[in-house]
């Protein structure tokens, strides 16, 4: 495992927060996924060894919790809320706009590797529906037009990086 020194430091800091090592499983999964982009078999085995558990104890968490993934995703992660209040305000159209903009379908990596669009359940900002998370950032009232603006911004940031 080739983890960044700051990730390793955070891992050492978080384990003693709990009287039982196993409790640190979710925090470690978050830290390793943020570091590596996804959770490989090697990562799962590494976390299990670190917490003195069997790999299945970690794998069963990865397959249960929606936020963990076993495959890489695009460079940017666009999560569109699908649940009732957002849907009533047009979330399906918002999602379709993102798909059109990046020439991809939800759940897949766009052909340029730039984004993965995902439909997720309630993001708890129903009063400003429809809402979208781009990476860690929440965006409110994202109708088709605003989705288009966000897509343009993401593309511009990608171009700048190149």
């Amino acid at each position: 495992m080739n983890l960044k020194p700051e990730t390793l430091a955070k891992i050492e800091e978080v384990i003693p927060h709990y009287p039982v090592k196993r409790s640190a499983a979710l925090p470690l999964l978050h830290l390793v996924q943020e570091d590596q982009g996804y959770l490989s078999n090697e990562a799962i085995e590494w976390i299990a060894a670190k917490l003195e558990l069997q790999p299945i104890n970690i794998l069963e968490l990865v397959t249960f919790y929606p936020m963990f993934r076993q495959k890489p995703i695009g460079r940017r992660h666009i999560r569109v809320c699908r649940t009732l209040s957002c849907a009533l305000s047009g979330a399906y159209a918002t999602c379709a706009e993102f798909e059109k903009q990046f020439n991809t379908y939800r759940g897949e990596i766009s052909p340029d590797g730039e984004v993965t669009i995902e439909f997720v359940e309630c993001l708890a900002s129903c009063g400003t529906a429809p809402v979208v998370m781009v990476d860690d950032q929440l965006h409110e009232k994202v109708d088709r037009a605003k989705a288009c603006d966000l897509a343009v911004k993401i593309k511009a940031e990608a171009a700048k990086r190149k």
């Binding site: 917490l51 359940e121 708890a124 400003t128």
Partner: protein
């Protein structure tokens, strides 16, 4: 009509109010904690009992009673677990508290910990609030540096630590025993009760309090003003203020804080929220988060209710139902988490239910067969209906499935996923039948499934 009364949301969206410690201290922050730690812990418990505070997470269980049930004689450590896994669709109050006023919440946590001799608290925050988790961690660090959290708080012998623990996108972690399992590093399968009541056998099999974010903020205000003064806010058995989170098809969605029971559903939707969207009329409302039973505009609720010591008749239209725990229960639904979702006449109830069923089908943890199979089955039936293959008997089929889930599962998720289907089919049965005759969705309709 009653005016808004901002207790918990006093500083939310206030210009110039920031989420750092300096700002909180300028507004009298941590003064209540300072007073509380100078007194015996049992005093706070008494004040909370006198206040009549009911939990704001969904079940409305009296907070003081919850604390009294704690096994204090076991000799094991007592834990506080803060349920910040806000995930009931339609609910978005905790987000604002965490992002904009985290120290109010921390002060409530520390008061609760002191009152119950808790030495270790965990804030279980949902995974989709990464920024909220960072803000909370920063706030805890500030509070620790100022001696409000950590060893020997404010120079007293009392010590208490708080850590933030992030969830990872599972709704079932809002169920308190599922949350505890998750905090122990396992799949969040809810525990069976009895014997696993958190107050006796909670986190690491130790006595544990699990309280919602908003509830803990109320504790701070109760400690500040005293239980009796707090009990005068709101209505008897439904004390204090309540944050209503309004979303869906209404002119002014958002959050509104009122004294519990001082406002009717009609006043909230028509006056506070400005009524329906232009050219539309209201059709249905879910009053307490998506698992609460739907209420239909035009229906009436009749019966007897207790006012003081007397039983009196009531006859309410939907608009007349007072917004408190007991009245919403009399109307056949619940106050739940305070998430009010509004639907107007443009919405097909079959499609709205299809959306809700997709949520519960996705979120069932899979531990109990009736819920695992039933929620997914209801999801498939409503999806099939929406996608052009509805059958006349589908309403009856859905009801049949839902009836076999509720009451047959370890946790309340069984009811949570059955109630929408049961109430939608019972109240909009004609629409479910008519859907079979209508092979395709209208192209103008908003897509919900």
């Amino acid at each position: 009509m009653a005016e808004q009364r901002r207790l918990i949301f006093q500083h939310i969206d206030e210009p110039g109010y920031s989420n750092d410690l300096a700002c909180y201290l300028r507004h009298g922050g941590y003064e209540v904690l300072r007073k509380v730690v100078a007194k015996p812990p049992a005093e706070v418990v008494d004040e909370v009992k006198k206040s009549g505070l009911r939990g704001r997470g969904g079940a409305g269980f009296p907070c003081g009673v919850k604390w009294t049930l704690l096994d204090r004689k076991s000799g094991k450590p007592i834990y506080l677990v803060v349920n910040a896994d806000e995930s009931e669709p339609g609910t978005f109050k905790d987000r604002y508290i965490i992002h904009q006023d985290p120290h109010q919440k921390l002060e409530g946590i520390m008061i609760t910990c002191f009152a119950n001799n808790v030495k270790q608290a965990y804030v279980y925050i949902r995974g989709e609030f990464p920024e909220g988790a960072r803000i909370l961690e920063a706030a805890i660090a500030e509070a620790r540096a100022a001696n409000f959290v950590g060893p020997n708080i404010l120079g007293t012998p009392y010590s208490c630590e708080i850590y933030v623990h992030r969830g990872a996108g599972a709704y079932i972690c809002g169920e308190e025993t599922g949350l505890i399992e998750s905090l122990e590093g396992k799949r969040p399968y809810p525990r069976i009760k009895p014997p696993y009541f958190p107050a006796v056998l909670g986190l690491y099999q130790c006595p544990t309090i699990v309280n919602n974010v908003e509830t803990l903020c109320h504790v701070k205000h109760i400690a500040a003003m005293g239980g009796e003064a707090y009990a005068k806010i709101g209505t008897p058995n439904n004390t204090g203020t309540r944050i209503f989170c309004v979303s869906g098809q209404v002119k002014k969605p958002g959050y509104y804080e009122f004294e519990v029971g001082k406002l009717t559903l009609g006043q909230l939707l028509n006056e506070v929220c400005g009524g329906p969207l232009p050219g539309r009329t209201f059709k249905a409302v879910i009053p307490g988060g998506s698992s609460a039973k739907v209420l239909k505009f035009g229906e009436r609720y009749k019966g007897k209710r207790k006012v003081g010591a007397e039983m009196v008749d009531f006859d309410w239209a939907l608009e007349d139902v007072p917004l408190d725990f007991d009245s919403l229960a009399l109307a056949g639904s619940m106050g739940g988490s305070g998430g009010v979702i509004v639907m107007d006449d443009s919405v097909s109830m079959v499609e709205a239910l299809g959306n809700i069923n997709a949520f519960y089908g996705h979120e069932s943890c899979g531990q109990c067969t009736p819920c695992r199979e039933g929620s997914a089955w209801m999801q498939r039936v409503t999806a099939r209906m929406v996608h052009g293959q509805a059958r006349k008997e589908d309403g009856a089929l859905l009801k049949n499935i839902a009836d076999q889930i509720a009451g047959r599962t370890i946790c309340a998720f069984g009811e949570a996923c059955a109630w929408p289907t049961q109430s939608f089919v019972a109240k909009f049965g004609a629409e479910f039948e008519a859907y079979a005759a209508k092979p395709a969705k209208s192209p103008a309709a908003i897509e919900l499934v």
